[in-house]
Amino acid sequence: MFELQRNVVFGQFVDTGSVIHRIDPRIKLVATFVMLVASFLIDDFLGFAVALALLAVIQIVCRIPVGYFLRGSGFFLGFLVFVLAFQVLFYPGEVPESDYLWRWGILSVSTEGIRAAGILGLRVVFLYYVTTMLLLTTSLVDLTNGLELIFGPLQRLKVPVNELVLVFVIAIKFVPIFIEEVERLARAQTARGVPFDEGGAIKRARRLGRLLVPIFIGGFARADVLTTAMNTRCYRGGRYRTKFRQMNARPSDWLILALVVAWMVIAWLV
């Protein structure tokens, strides 16, 4: 509880200065998008094996420790296993009688069910890994600029791109801030006699309720301050803003994108 940040990796940015960190954010965003689409097209274990090999390469190149990533994903993975168990037990598809391994009332375990749950699980892990890795290796400034540039043309169609991107980025930025806030509150309340570091899981969960109200109040106060700060500094939409740092995709960035696309196509076709 006192070091909650250990257990949440989503939304964090860890700068190791690796090759992946230095790729043009627009290229990274497009590559992420390609991988997300591919994860929905790939439909067999062999395809995912090829796709997951790319994740292994990314993991090695980005120099973010595997242990840190896994510990920060424990809660998510546990939840996934829980959901997949239900998927197997209540598998709704048509199953030939010979495929059943076990059956009890509406509950059943079939090879078909396991296969479907396995593919679904791989797909979710893939999605989770790709998005988390994007956030881990891209600073929020880069992410904002990248998104704005990619969706910039939509502004001609009166889509408020800048505002949407801003809201999205602020939402992500608030995740680690909220976590820090929870830590601070947990510490202060423990000091006053609410033992956050003791008791079983249910007791701990119940005590979390005490944190919700101050967190919400704090969140609104923070949003208010942010709005005022932006107004006093005359913030206005992106169309009128110029960038101090221009983005330049280097040939190597394009090469990486081509590699990702090719890899995903192969994974889809095998």
Partner: protein, 289 residues
Amino acid sequence: MTDEPPILELRNFRYTYLEGTPKANEAVRDVSFSVRCGERVAIVGPTHSGKSTVVDSFAHLLRLKQGQVFYEGEDVAAPGYDRAALRRKVSIVFQHPDSQLIEDVVGADVAFGPTAAGIPAEETRRRVEESLDALGLPYPDFRLRYVHALSGGQRRRVAIAGVIAMRTPVLVLDEPMAGLDPRGRRELLGLLRRLADDRELTLVVCSTSLGDASLLCDRVVVLSDGRVEMDGPLREVLREADELAALDITLPEPVEGARELRKLFPDLPQDLLTEEELEAELLDRLGVA
């Protein structure tokens, strides 16, 4: 008397936040000092010197390792050590009072600690009244006020009242004067000094400024970059005014004044603490007296 173990002790205390992750942050590198019962110690240092981490360690609010933090000679990180009991003996007033205010209404919030500790309602009510009165928040006026509707200074006092109501022998204050105007500062200083006298508290005050701390404490531990730079009686530490200034520690006004005046009177003593002392020395030198 001297055989008694110190009430608080740190032995080669070191602490790294998020140890073993890429976000690891070494806040305290090597800190050893002890506080005897009834002592009033100021922990002074610039921001990021490790003050708040040291404060949190006293009530075991971190993932402590064994053999580093002791209360009355007992290792607080030892397996089976009663942390809840420790927190009923060491109270902390945090830098942001809002984080430690739990209930909406002043009276209920001050009553929170004693109630959680299982103290009977009648006794709790008496303590709430006494604590609020002691902090200059008259019980009948403030009992039912909403915490959010109070001013910053009042919220800090409510936070202190909530901690005083626990009747702990040790009171730790993290930046108690931050954000107060000069008058609020003076008032709070007076209240804290009276509280510490009346209840014979062991007092630990953290601050970036020696000005406030010098009015509450008689011993100073100077931290810098997670290490102890100096440790000694107030006057002795103040003799190193230049070093303190180099560490970005705000000095008490008379000391700062004396530092400037030493350009005119190089023989001004190094251990002037109050305006009166400085005035007397100056008058002496000007031959007015």
